[in-house]
Symmetry: C2
Subunit: 538 residues, 2 copies
């Protein structure tokens, strides 16, 4: 879990030491070569960030803040963007058009206040930065009307300040990375159990600002529900909500900042709800010969009130690619967990619902200390390697990316068909060959959150444009069929065209008014959620 | 469930025909007389609303809207305020200082738009009105800087427009009363199962605008979680959020309007999440000799992940007054329900947690079609009669009212002690004799929602002032001990002083900005949540 002594990749996912290499790389490239005979699979090394000849920093901090600031080219390059496919490929090409002038690392909340003060006065844009794992352009300083742009890296604000074991909650600074958070909670026997795929490389503040989804397929799917109170520094002042298990006093103050993606303020601290580690587990993988039947079974479980921790329906392509299982319909990976009571009966009932829809149990583990099943284990290992494999494939000119949504059950069949068709059509047009896969990451009584993967043959030098065309096509299909442009990847700069259409007009007006009030100079993450507004003339 | 052919009380709770009378009244008054020898228990009849000599309406609607408007004195009097103790007593005194000039009943959403347009132009305040069951001054047109005030009664917008049985959701107009909503859903086999104490006399729109709490003690405690999308008419325009089971696209647009109490827009319609009626039930009542042990047991259940539908801890006074059970610590009323699977094991585990804390099962019902237990039944009947009994007691000069909050478990003991002491002290000072009771209406892993009742000897003519003094004392104690000023009664006009202190400053600034944008003339429910802002000079 700990990332000590490893080196973060400046251009790609995670740690340099964990990149796909050796036999893993050979096997991966071999599989692609077999599927795409004749495809150019030349490996493209990332450039040396120090040799990129970045433009010099346009702004200088006041002396009082200089100690927090870095203008080191490698540091600036590493903070220039997130970790989407289009980010990684542009990095590989050495194409760093928008680089922060400075990386600023506050050591206290007062430092955050001071940095916002300075930037407000100097007309400098501020990009709040957690782990930098955005896949929607959320941390890329793609701004124009400012004297410069700084990235506010909150990594030093990384402590668990206080644990309330009675209420099972902790006060945590926002810059803490997932593993370090869990490490600090361990002595209390409590855990947040929020495990997005980016867990190792994303922070509490990032999860909160982007409404991240984590471990749980049902109930507490988004981080929103784990928040007891928030502390936020905005250019107009600092505020903290009262620690409350529930309240009905006006619109929720926290919900305005959850999902605000650094545009309204900087989340510096939160009281988070915790739980004990699970002691009871039960899991199963269920095969279906028919995809609609698998979807119906998953819907029945989502509506049963059984509340599985995991309820991940893999379609046939996803199951084959990431677990090696051959199946015509799909595989449902189910898991239940509890710190208090056995969950075997819940699993048995969920399996019964699957059988009612033609499912056949492939493997099952149950009882106390039961671990994930074989297929689930396979899938989990694959899940954690996916971003690294994506990078390896990007280097050989493949187009590999994901996108996700959520919709109501009544619309899923049409949405799935339209998205698949749009993706396949775009892949044919711009790539020639490729596949699209689908899994459910989360399920609700009223609908699933489908997550799609695209693997297509690219042309080195054009893969960003190829992906952008596929992405636009599937985003249109999602919008046309009532899905959200994002269930848990956030809006950033890249989802804006579809977000703008999805967001009700009165709420857009409200958000604009809030932005103008809390960030009057418009310096906070300009272009995210709302159009960039140049700062007022000095 | 149906209220057909009954007459709503203009001055007090519910239906005239259901008021406390005859032997029920004799028994109630007899009990009070026994407890308070020498107390003046003269019964005070409500005045005839037609004889109240209301001031004439100050505004006239445009001809196009005249058909929707009523200036009938009884109608205006009946819409002048909510159903708090202080409302009922002032009605009994014929003290109707703030009466709407007109009651306007839109028959369509376009009517709502037209009324807001007219009122915006004419500088007339608009009070959105559902069932009128506010206990916080939320529907009382206590406004000054306006040409007049109209009450916008949404009662005609009462249809379930569409049911999506696949996703288990329905599109419902906001003005529907609880029983009529359930009546319309019945053919689908689905139910909202949102049963606040006011169920018969409150509407979907009111529940949404005030973040009402309902039937479920855990998980979906507030109506917020049952909302799929909202349709809102604001003076600045109409908007509708996309129907989504979950989303991470920016801050939740719906959460800004949930709890906005009619100050930002009029909720005209919502897609609501439904479920099938429960087929499996299990319940028990558990006695505790020791209150702290009962609280600890309740906390353990709240943190167990068992998710009881009911988990209502009654303290000794509450148990005695409302179920007749004598106990030194308290009684925990537990119930589980499911439409899918048996819940006996969940009940057994919850009971085991109670026994670990010294609880003894008083009665238990389990298995399919198990109904609530004896004490629970007793309590439920009493619960539904409470507001009617409150009215009967108000008529004989008693001070009878409730208040509620939520806090984290670590703070509950101190909050409970401080609130109890503040109430007892204030009762002694202003009333002489009285009791305070406490129950938990909802419980969360990180804290309970305690609900307090006050029964005190009043002096006819002074009981509102007496209550106001008690209320101020307990509100200060709640604030000092980190509770919310309201868990589910909303803010209205009466909770403003404490809400203003509880609300983080940046959120106050944000809310003010949103109000100015969506309601530029400041006509919507002025004085609720935010200070009344007079309309701009014409």
């Amino acid at each position: 879990m700990t990332t000590k002594s490893k080196t973060r990749s400046w251009w790609g996912w995670g740690n340099v030491e964990d990149a796909v290499a050796g036999p893993e790389r050979a096997a991966l490239v071999g599989r692609v070569a077999a599927l795409l005979p004749g495809q150019d699979l030349t490996d493209h090394e990332p450039p040396d960030p120090a040799a990129l000849d970045l433009p010099p920093a346009r702004v200088r901090p006041p002396t009082s803040l200089a100690g927090l600031c870095s203008d080191d080219p490698a540091d600036r390059a590493a903070h220039a963007r997130g970790k989407a496919f289009r980010d990684v490929v542009r990095n590989l090409h050495g194409d760093l058009r928008h680089v922060p002038d400075l990386v600023v690392r506050p050591a206290s909340e007062q430092d955050v206040v001071d940095v916002l003060d300075w930037c407000g006065r100097a007309g400098v844009a501020v990009v709040p930065y957690g782990g930098g794992s955005s896949v929607v352009g959320g941390v890329e300083p793609r701004v124009t009307g400012f004297a410069g742009a700084v990235t506010l890296d909150l990594g030093r604000l990384d402590r668990v300040v206080e644990v309330d074991a009675t209420s099972r909650a902790a006060r945590v600074r926002a810059g803490v990375l997932g593993p370090h958070l869990e490490e600090q909670l361990r002595p209390s026997g409590l855990t947040l159990r929020h495990f997005p795929q980016s867990f190792e490389f994303s922070t509490l503040g990032g999860w909160l600002a982007t409404r991240a989804s984590g471990h749980y397929a049902t109930l507490t799917t988004h981080i929103d529900d784990l928040v007891e109170s928030l502390r936020v520094v905005s250019p107009a002042g600092t505020g903290e909500s009262r620690r409350l298990p529930g309240s009905g006093a006006g619109p929720s103050p926290d919900r305005l900042f959850l999902g605000s993606e650094g545009t309204l303020g900087v989340i510096t601290e939160a009281w988070m709800r915790l739980r004990p580690r699970p002691r009871h587990r039960a899991g199963a993988s269920v095969r279906f010969a028919d995809y609609p039947a698998a979807v119906a079974a998953t819907g029945a479980i989502a509506q049963s009130g059984l509340h599985p921790a995991n309820c991940r329906l893999l379609d046939a392509a996803e199951a084959f690619l990431n677990t090696g299982v051959g199946v015509t319909g799909g595989v449902l990976v189910l898991a239940f967990e509890s710190a208090d009571h056995p969950v075997d009966a819940a699993l048995a009932r969920a399996v019964e619902l699957c059988r009612d829809h033609g499912g056949e149990v492939a493997d099952e583990t149950a009882g106390r200390d039961g671990r994930a099943s074989g297929i689930a284990d396979e899938w989990r290992s694959s899940f954690l390697r996916m971003p690294y494999q994506r990078d390896a494939l990007a280097r050989i000119g493949m187009v590999v990316e994901t996108f996700e949504t959520a919709c109501t059950w009544d619309r899923f069949e049409a949405l799935h068909a339209a998205v698949t068709e749009a993706a396949q059509d775009a892949i044919r047009r711009v790539c020639g060959a490729g596949v699209i896969t689908c899994r459910f990451t989360h399920v609700y009584p009223d609908g699933p959150a489908p997550y799609f993967g695209v693997y297509a043959a690219g042309r080195w030098g054009s893969t960003v444009a190829q992906w952008d065309e596929i992405k636009a096509a599937v985003s249109e299909a999602i919008a046309a069929h009532g899905g959200t442009i994002t269930h848990h990847h956030a809006v950033g700069r890249d989802h804006r065209p579809w977000y703008d259409r999805q967001r009700p007009d009165p709420f857009a007006a409200a958000l604009t008014a809030v932005k103008a009030t809390l960030d009057p100079a418009g310096i906070l993450n300009p272009g995210v959620l709302l159009p960039e507004r140049p700062p007022p003339a000095p």
